[in-house]
């Protein structure tokens, strides 16, 4: 039982922790105290002085509520005539040098200063001197800094340092001349997450992307989920007249640069507008009817001529659960083959969904120690990185970092193990744990921290091969209460796996067998193949061997990921590619079908925590593009199959009925690891291959801003990229 103190706020008595501030106690009592510089995710700062309150029997007239801890039997008044006047005076001071350019300020309508001034009803100011002015700073990528509007709350400075561990912004100069700036006033050179813009209570920090795009009160808001990595951060699309103009963070209160600014790729002119069919070696636009007929006819011909198993399909780790479910059902029930797989399996951690189940990201801080095996965590899964920083900075957890080169996590780590590869590092840590001594102090310290920890969060690299896997298993045996946090690059890897885009498993990891086939055949009212199909590696080999004649790719780009696959794909008789851009693979296709982006359709993603999250349509599909499942359904119908869904919700209902994992899974809930049929087995869903995509095509370090086809088409992030390389 934790001890509490009793505090009375405006006559309401609450019990709070003795370490709570008056502001927190007031929140608990349901009393609002106006604030500018305070924020739940930051340490108290106490600069704005708006949150003044009166404490009974205090020698001080006014006390700042955000920085003052409660005391037992403290009695606080949050609103008196004197306090009203005091806050009004503070606002008068803040406005004294404020430009009051609300008509052209992007923040107007959601500006805390504006709201407070409205609330406190300021009349004519006594300030009649010349206003202090500082020229605006337009010289940064993505962000505009209108210095005059600043209220010096320091939130941008603090969020950058405390939450992001970047520390790009700081106060420079002193007194009335102080301002938020960078080292030597140089342009921003940071992660460009835009958290500073998001947290700015006024319009001092705004984005170029949103400038003059709309007034906040005219925007429609669509809750959805970011599509750029496995974290799946909740977002809110803000649109004006049916066109997205801005993305803001929702529930988790954090977005990285990709999530916040990268959405504009969906407006890129490179988007596919119509279906394309190859005629005389050229891809030419055609109608949907024509394209669907060509696909259906060719697939039927190949199926009849060479058998269903000469057709293979690659699903997508970037489209919705519904799309993937329909895709695998189409391949199994309509085409009649289990040759369905995910290319991404070549690059996922071995042991995922069998030995390694990710813990909830928000709970990383509950572990006593965090062992980070991949220094690029902040680039691959930015939210995981933020949660690690939060665990260290706010909860005082110890972090052991394996890293060969310096990055922002170094200064947070209790111990840095200077190893380029996690493999050797784990070996040495294991030795240090066993021997209670290691070579060098760092290992000794790391072993001591890990040994003393009652629970350990283990951050696992996104690619994990045999030996590392064994070592990690061994390591977790040597530690107490290990929770894994595998890094996952793609937004719906988990969902696509769950949906059974696997040659050996039906949805929900139900192993392909005669019984399972019969059960699904019953549910789907189709005849199903009873033996496992080819996996992605086998597909490649069989294409080379001429055993696979047709390939249907939904939302993936093998040729773009590994140029060596181009000649392989050339060897196909028939290649269909569904994508939002004309990818390297699409350029080789016989038919290209334009798909709707995740902003343009409804469905669900399952993030790396196995959390089922709803995405919502914020815009009509671009040009003639269509949601993936609709396209597949059209092809299926043309081929004589029986797919007939009215909506994505319809598909989800079916998913729930055939998949115990998803039956009854509430929105935003995580499906429990132990429910997976693979849980605790040595099953390997990873297809680490020596031949295909062995090397990362994408250079490390560029990950945050340009990790794929979509993100490179973000105009905003393009400017960042240019700024970084000095174009």
């Amino acid at each position: 039982m934790e001890n509490t103190v009793t505090v009375t706020i405006d006559g309401i008595t609450v019990k709070v922790k003795p370490t709570a501030t008056i502001l927190e106690a007031a929140k608990a009592a349901g009393v609002r105290i106006p604030v500018l510089c305070a924020d739940d995710k930051l340490h108290p700062y106490g600069s704005c002085r708006i949150c003044l309150v009166e404490i009974e029997k205090s020698p001080r007239k006014f006390t700042p509520s955000c920085t003052t801890p409660v005391a037992d039997n403290m009695s606080v008044k949050t609103m008196t005539p004197d306090l009203f006047e005091a806050r009004k005076r503070i606002l008068e001071l803040l406005l004294a040098n404020h430009p009051l350019d609300c008509p052209v300020c992007d923040k107007a309508g959601s500006c805390q200063l504006q709201d407070l001034v409205h609330e406190y009803g300021l009349g004519k100011s006594k300030f009649a001197e010349e206003k202090r002015t500082t020229p605006p700073n337009y010289g940064n990528a993505v962000v505009e800094r209108i210095v005059n509007r600043c209220v010096f709350c320091g939130k941008c400075v603090r969020v950058c340092r405390e939450q992001n561990a970047v520390g790009e912004l700081a106060f420079t100069r002193r007194g009335a001349k102080s301002r938020v700036s960078t080292d030597f006033d140089t342009p921003l050179d940071c992660e460009f997450c835009g958290e500073c813009v998001e947290i700015c209570p006024v319009g001092a920090l705004t984005t170029k992307q949103f400038k003059y795009k709309g007034r906040t009160w005219n925007l429609d808001r669509t809750p959805s989920v970011c599509n750029y990595c496995g974290c799946g951060c909740p977002i809110s699309y803000e649109s004006r007249r049916g066109r997205i103009v801005r993305v803001k963070s929702a529930a988790r209160n954090y977005l990285c640069s990709k999530g916040r600014f990268g959405w504009d790729a969906v407006h890129h002119p490179d988007r596919l507008t119509t279906p394309l069919v190859r005629i005389n070696g050229e891809l030419v636009p055609c109608t949907w009817d024509e394209a669907v007929s060509v696909v259906a006819t060719n697939l039927n011909v190949i199926k009849n001529k060479r058998g269903a198993d000469s057709i293979a399909g690659l699903g997508s780790v970037r489209t919705t659960n519904e799309d993937n479910y329909v895709f695998q059902k189409f391949m199994r029930a309509v085409v009649g083959t289990n040759n369905v797989d995910l290319l991404a399996r070549l690059k996922i951690p071995k042991g995922l969904n069998a030995a390694f189940f990710s813990g909830e990201l928000g709970r990383i801080g509950e572990h006593d120690a965090i062992l980070v095996l991949d220094r690029e965590v902040g680039e691959i899964n930015p939210l995981t990185g933020i949660e690690i920083i939060r665990a260290v900075n706010r909860m005082g957890r110890k972090m052991v970092l394996v890293s060969g080169t310096y990055n922002k996590f170094h200064k947070l780590a209790s111990v840095v193990l200077d190893y380029a590869s996690p493999e050797v590092a784990i070996e040495h840590v294991l030795a240090a744990l066993a021997a209670e001594k290691g070579e060098g102090d760092a290992l000794k310290q790391a072993a001591a921290i890990l040994k003393a920890a009652g629970s350990v969060a283990l951050v696992i690299p996104p690619s994990l091969y045999g030996k590392e896997y064994d070592l990690i298993r061994q390591l977790s045996g040597a530690l107490k209460n290990v929770t894994y946090y595998p890094l996952v690059r793609r937004s719906n890897l988990q969902g696509a796996l769950d949906m059974g885009v696997l040659p050996g498993y039906y949805p929900g990891y139900q192993k392909v067998s005669a019984e399972a086939a019969a059960s699904f055949a019953g549910a789907w009212n189709e005849v199903l193949p009873e033996t496992a199909g080819m996996n992605a590696v086998e597909m490649v080999n069989n294409i080379k061997a001429g055993k696979v004649a047709a390939l249907y790719i939904m939302g993936d780009d093998p040729a773009g990921s590994d140029p060596n696959l181009k000649p392989v794909l050339d060897g196909l008789e028939f290649l269909v590619v569904q994508d939002i851009f004309l990818s390297e693979t699409a350029k080789l296709a016989d038919v290209v079908l334009p798909a709707a982006s995740s902003a343009e359709k409804t469905g669900t993603f399952t993030n790396l925590e196995r959390r089922l999250q709803q995405i919502m349509k914020a815009e009509e599909p671009y040009a003639e593009s269509r949601p993936d499942w609709e396209i597949i359904q059209a092809v299926a119908k043309k081929m004589g199959g029986s797919l007939n869904y009215a909506s994505a919700g319809n598909i989800m209902d079916e998913i729930r009925s055939v998949t115990p994992l998803y039956a009854g899974l509430a929105p935003c809930a995580v499906w429990p690891a132990e429910k997976s049929p693979l849980s605790g087995t040595e099953t390997d869903l990873s297809l680490s291959s020596d031949t295909i995509m062995k090397k990362e095509v994408i250079n490390a370090g560029r990950l945050l801003f340009s990790s794929g086809m979509t993100i490179t088409r973000s105009r905003e992030l393009g400017t960042v990229q240019n700024a970084k390389i000095g174009v």
């Binding site: 108290p44 700062y45 106490g46 600069s47 704005c48 002085r49 708006i50 003044l52 001080r60 007239k61 006014f62 700042p64 920085t67 801890p69 005091a86 005076r89 503070i90 008068e92 001071l93 803040l94 004294a96 040098n97 006594k126 300030f127 001197e129 010349e130 202090r132 209220v151 010096f152 320091g154 700081a170 106060f171 100069r173 002193r174 007194g175 009335a176 001349k177 102080s178």
Partner: protein, 433 residues
């Protein structure tokens, strides 16, 4: 026998002209040999023979109050820090003497650095700190050289470093030079600056005594405060507390500047009256002019008038008189001074030195400065006096640290006592020199 000894000590104190400044006039007083010959480091032996907790109690019983301005009981501060468990504690000497009119610490730093070092070694021993820093004002380059030389001499002689006097006491000391900000005289801003951060005050609690420099228990004392410590130990609390006022005993260094015949530093018992300081010790107002105003304790303390000459210069008496002892920096102004002009100079200082963290201080001081600038240019309006009072009321009681609060004191007190100067200034457009 004990009583006789005490009596002897008492007599010695009564006849001794100076304690804190007793070595400053000796030629080469900064040289460790000369200093030792005249008693430097002679108290260490006695201090180390006591238990640390007894040293703390002795200082507590002596009722020594901080000489930096706030007058916080030093013994209590030490006790709070000494009680916090932990091996690593810091003792910081606040030598960021930035208050306009204040130059008393400089005298000790430049003339008798070994007194300060001795005081710090004893203080560190008392609170359990083995690491000390002297946070030295950037604008004291001469003191920097002297202190560094003195510290290296003290290391050589074994008064600093490991195992001092063979008693197993460790104390390392170095000088950290400030970067020219007045705000860093505020103890938490000093810590921030020492840690290499922007000089801005920190949130309290946690207080430095529990979480100070690098989040370790830390005591911060003024130069003069620390220099008092050897005398408390050598004389004993009872004898020491007989000096000066009962509520704030001990010797006090008053730095007198302005229009007096003999400006300078004067060590006098705490509680000496303004009249005695100005007229007996400093030879009265220069040129036989009439006294107009006195700032008793540095720029941030409210001004006093000739009516207050019999106020005792100690913490409580000055508060009762509507001012503060501050650092004991007495600034004397005669009848030729226009108080609008004088206040303008002070307000300009505070506007320049406000760190910019909190709204009232940042905006309030710069607003005040703008209004005073207008007054000085002969562009004042009759409403301006009320405006100044309005701004002061806006700032009052809302600031993060005492800087903003101090900044409005000269304005309030000069309007209170010398409203005529303002009215004349606004009416004629002429505001002094």
């Amino acid at each position: 026998m004990r009583h006789v000894l005490q009596l002897c000590a008492l007599l010695e104190v009564y006849f001794m002209e100076k304690m804190l400044l007793k070595r400053v006039d000796i030629p080469n007083s900064t040289d460790i040999g000369v200093a030792i010959k005249h008693g430097a480091y002679s108290v260490l032996e006695k201090a180390f023979a006591m238990r640390p907790v007894d040293v703390v109690n002795e200082v507590k019983r002596a009722n020594l109050r901080g000489r930096g301005g706030a007058g916080f009981p030093t013994g209590l501060k030490w006790e709070l820090c000494a009680r916090v468990p932990g091996d690593l504690k810091y003792l910081l000497c606040n030598a960021d003497e930035g208050e306009p009119g204040t130059f008393k610490d400089r005298f000790i730093l430049q003339q008798d650095p070994h007194l300060l070092i001795e005081g710090m070694v004893i203080s560190g021993y008392a609170i359990g700190a083995e690491r000390g820093y002297i946070y030295l004002r950037y604008e004291y380059p001469k003191a920097l050289g002297i202190l560094e030389k003195a510290i290296s001499e003290a290391y050589d002689k074994g008064y600093l470093g490991k195992n001092i006097l063979g008693k197993g006491v460790n104390f390392d000391l170095s000088v950290h030079r400030g970067a020219g900000a007045y705000i860093c005289g505020e103890e938490t801003a000093l810590i921030e600056s020492l840690e290499g951060k922007r000089g801005q005050p920190r949130i309290r609690p946690p207080f430095p005594a529990s979480q100070g420099a690098w989040k370790k228990p830390t005591v911060i004392n003024n130069v003069e405060t620390l220099s008092n410590v050897p005398f408390i130990i050598s004389l004993g609390a009872e004898v020491y507390s007989k000096i000066g006022e009962e509520t704030s005993p001990g010797p006090k260094i008053y730095g007198v500047s302005g229009m007096v015949s003999k400006p300078g530093v004067y060590e006098l018992p705490m509680g000496t009256t303004l009249r005695e300081i100005i007229f007996t010790h400093c030879g009265g107002v220069r040129g036989g002019k009439k006294l107009k105003a006195v700032i008793p304790g540095g720029a941030s303390t409210p001004m006093l008038t000739p009516n207050h000459l019999d106020v005792k210069m100690d913490y409580n008496s000055l508060v009762a008189a509507g001012s503060m002892l501050g650092s004991g920096a007495v600034m004397v102004m005669d009848e030729t001074v226009n108080m609008v002009n004088a206040t303008y100079v002070l307000v300009r200082f505070f506007a320049h030195e406000s760190c910019g963290k909190c709204t009232p201080c940042r905006e309030g001081t710069s607003w005040l400065y703008q209004v005073y600038t207008r007054l000085m240019h002969g562009q004042g309006t009759p409403d301006d006096i009320d405006l100044l009072l309005y701004i002061c009321d806006t700032v009052k009681g809302k600031c993060f640290c005492p800087l903003g609060e101090g900044a409005i004191q000269p304005v309030l007190s000069s309007i209170k006592h010398f409203r005529g100067d303002y009215e004349q200034c606004i009416a004629t457009g002429k505001c002094g020199h």
